[in-house]
């Protein structure tokens, strides 16, 4: 058995799981189980949100270790489900390494994503539906959808420039806040607060927050605390972005809006 390849395979699995937003215990357990399935009880894994370290001792007594650094990433449930499924299957069926590697490659090659227009539509629908949910009218919902699209464009554009999450969120909050005020001045929107809140739901760190809680409960304090800190930081970024747009509006219209 080629233990280098086995380590690489399980590392790739862990990396893809972490990349798609899995909890830390899932990443660690998947790597450990894969190593165990191929007959290595000596595999050790340590993962935090931006790094995985895996180490094993071969039956000949040789020590193999690998470290992978994780850049910042989003959430991709489709990839998470499929990697999890593949990991389960590999652990049960234990195919030869060639076949296991091929299946991993196939999985990565056949990933599906929604097209950019479809994603913009999703931003529109998500933000628009939250406006009447919080008490806005139908016209507000339309404005909220437009603000959602503006946030989506803003996030996509800034991600391409490689901006960090904090700045992206501040920018998104400011843009949507200003757009909501603009639509109110034009006369399309009726309640600036409901429009802004609906659009802000896109930026709110609900995902990070729930994941942080699950990590803390699983005993991964490092991961949980770093995610919770990130969620808090994003919450502050949203407040800052909204604050900037409200403050600018006060300056321009003198509190009339």
């Amino acid at each position: 058995m080629d233990y280098d390849r086995l380590l690489n395979l399980s590392m790739e699995m862990g990396y893809r799981l972490l990349e798609s937003g899995a909890e830390i215990y899932r990443v660690e357990e998947s790597i450990r189980r894969l190593l165990q399935a191929y007959g290595l009880a000596t595999g050790e894994v340590f993962a935090i949100p931006n790094c995985i370290i895996a180490s094993l001792v071969t039956p000949e007594g040789q020590v193999l270790t690998r470290v992978r650094r994780m850049p910042s990433h989003g959430t991709d449930i489709e990839q998470l489900e499929r990697c999890n499924d593949l990991c389960r299957r590999l652990c049960v069926e234990r195919p030869p390494l060639d076949e296991a590697e091929r299946r991993m490659d196939d999985l990565l090659a056949s990933r599906r994503y929604y097209s950019f227009p479809a994603q913009l539509l999703a931003y529109f629908v998500g933000a628009a539906a939250f406006v009447p949910f919080f008490g806005g009218t139908w016209r507000d919902a339309l404005c909220g959808g437009l603000c959602g699209v503006a946030i989506g464009l803003c996030l996509t554009f800034l991600s391409r420039l490689g901006t960090n999450l904090f700045f992206k969120t501040v920018a998104g909050g400011t843009v949507s806040g200003l757009l909501a005020l603009g639509l109110r001045v034009v006369g399309l929107g009726q309640n600036v607060d409901f429009i802004t809140i609906g659009a802000l739901m896109i930026l709110v760190p609900g995902v990070l927050f729930t994941n942080a809680m699950r990590d803390i409960m699983a005993g991964d304090m490092m991961a949980g605390i770093s995610k919770a800190a990130e969620a808090l930081l994003i919450g502050m970024a949203i407040a800052l972005g909204t604050g900037v747009s409200l403050w600018l509006a006060r300056l321009l219209w003198g509190g009339a809006v």
Binding site: F124, F133, R214, A239
Partner: protein, 156 residues
């Protein structure tokens, strides 16, 4: 009839919003429906708990417990990670309004109101967290109990 009018529209909005958000998290097929139904039912629990608890902190807690349990069950049925359903179905409960109103008070210089809203928002986030923690630790407990029993039987 009156009941339908108070309960149906908000749940419907939550449903549609969750459909939008599941696309953003790259969920395909049946998963979208499960997430959206989870979001709508979670909000229904939140609304239905109002006459019992008279406190939105407890209502959030009840809805969080419901959604976590729902996600655990759905994840067992479809054999996929719990996170998938939990993330999206939670969105309607996230206190997004609190952040905005707190900031509005801060800009207006109303420090009392600002602190009031801020702590209330943090409280809501906290009660969501406690709900999720409670269910996921209970599930862990049950799982390890079942696993141990399974191993004992195998050994005997």
């Amino acid at each position: 009839m009156e009941l339908i009018q108070t309960y149906l529209p908000p749940c419907l909005y939550a449903f549609v919003a969750c459909v939008g958000f599941s696309v953003l998290f790259n969920i395909h097929g049946l998963g979208i429906l499960i997430c959206a139904v989870g979001g709508a039912l979670g909000w229904l629990v939140y609304l239905a708990a109002a006459p019992v608890f008279h406190s939105d902190l407890l209502q959030s807690f009840a809805a969080a417990v419901f959604i976590s349990a729902y996600s655990e069950i759905m994840a067992r049925i479809r054999k996929c990670p719990v996170t998938a359903y939990l993330l999206v179905a939670f969105f309607p409960l996230v206190p997004g309004g609190g952040i905005y109103y707190a900031m509005e008070h801060a800009i207006n210089g109303e420090t009392d109101l600002f602190l009031n809203v801020l702590f209330h928002t943090l409280g809501l986030a906290g009660s969501l967290a406690v709900g999720v923690l409670l269910v996921s630790s209970l599930v862990r407990l049950i799982n390890s109990y079942l696993y141990r029993r399974h191993r004992k039987r195998k050994g005997a």
